[in-house]
Point group: none
Chain length 250, copies 2
Amino acid sequence: MLTTERHQLILALLKEQGTIKLQDLVEQMNASESTIRRDLVQLEEMKALKRVHGGAALFKQKGLEPSINEKKHANHVEKQQIGKLAASYIDNGDCVYLDAGTTILEMIPYMKEKNVTVLTNGLMHLPLLMEADIKTFLVGGKLKIATNAIVGTQAVQFLSDYRFDKCFLGMNGIHPDYGLTTPDPDEALLKMRAIQLSNKSYVLADRSKLFETTFARVGSIEEVTIITDANDEEAVLSLRKHSNVKVVTP
Amino acid sequence: MLTTERHQLILALLKEQGTIKLQDLVEQMNASESTIRRDLVQLEEMKALKRVHGGAALFKQKGLEPSINEKKHANHVEKQQIGKLAASYIDNGDCVYLDAGTTILEMIPYMKEKNVTVLTNGLMHLPLLMEADIKTFLVGGKLKIATNAIVGTQAVQFLSDYRFDKCFLGMNGIHPDYGLTTPDPDEALLKMRAIQLSNKSYVLADRSKLFETTFARVGSIEEVTIITDANDEEAVLSLRKHSNVKVVTP
DNA sequence: TTTGAATGAATGATTTTGAATAAAAGTGAT
DNA sequence: ATCACTTTTATTCAAAATCATTCATTCAAA
């Protein structure tokens, strides 16, 4: 078997399975362990894969690739529902602000063919936005490593040069009395300004965020429309009792 | 069997299988190893196939994605040298602007423990910057998908709020008479402004960019220090003859 | 016949390969 | 945690395969 043939086969299997054991490769191809090992070294040098103990894995794409992290996240199905619903509020030609965060991320696949212009501070969104071929602008400012988001006074300042038809925000705490809250004050400032600059504001949050409060206040609950899952959960029904709170569910 | 007949047969088999072993060809046709070998050399010269150890392969291999990655890392060793040298010009505590591009990318691993603050428009740099735990700011503006860079008037505007000790720029054309040039006018504007805002400017480019010119002019060659490989190449020596051109090599 | 291109064989150099070994990393029980 | 045990990895080396080069031969056309 030709070296290049082995390389191709390895990559094909890897693409199919995500990871692969060295021993499996040895069995599958008619080659010694040493040879396969050398193949993996070469492919790693070509940045085609990442070698791990016992085999190889797909090269971790730029660290910004959400599809890998996506699976890890809890409530993935619920977030997807919320994202789909949120995307349905976008009209053709809208200019929207997309907050960072995994829930907002789920909107993007449903935004294709809406002819939308996006401004975002979420780096994790970029691969999907590119893939969907959406006209995208990125907020400038300080890079917050923990959440892959752009924050800080520069970001707030940058935002102020734009106006939006709609903004879509993630939120950690939603409470009828204490309002909208998020743990990071820097992010709170940014969300606050986004609401100011938008005609209409949407907050995406799964049921676990309802009636919670965290550190920094973003605004009052009446300013936004809350998009959440759990149609008949007690929390949702309770929220709806308040006359000026807008809650929508799938 | 006629030479052209063999050539056609080789190409046909190759098209069918993707790769082919030299020994198989020897068996299949009534010709010696030497002859087949010569055939392959000729066909490679005609860019009809790629010779590999033990046989030949198609140029465009079916489903072999990493060729893109490989391309991205062309001249990888040279770029690494250039990047290492460039990083050595950074002092502790510097605030620097890092242009987008693969050559600049290579600087980052050598920037650790310099206590540096980075502003960049290159999204590809972010994973490495995060990993190196470098204080990073991102330019805001329009996302250019092709190069994973932030560009446009918003980006230029954003940049103008900062001042840098040093900036490090990639460049496609470097010519003593026509100056520094790059294919995209948007990027040219950004590079131009970066030079204005920096105390000292460095251009990183491998030897293939010397004495080349492309579309949009960034500035004159005297404004910057050029960091390139190829110490004793004719091009470098020739550049150095110009009294006010600064060129450094590893 | 002479010329020149194509061929096949032979040579030595280079690359690839598989096996052997020691080092390193993971595993699991105490 | 440590320790013993297993698996995986890195390294080295010799054998095998492949390659580049040279040279003599063949064959066709001038």
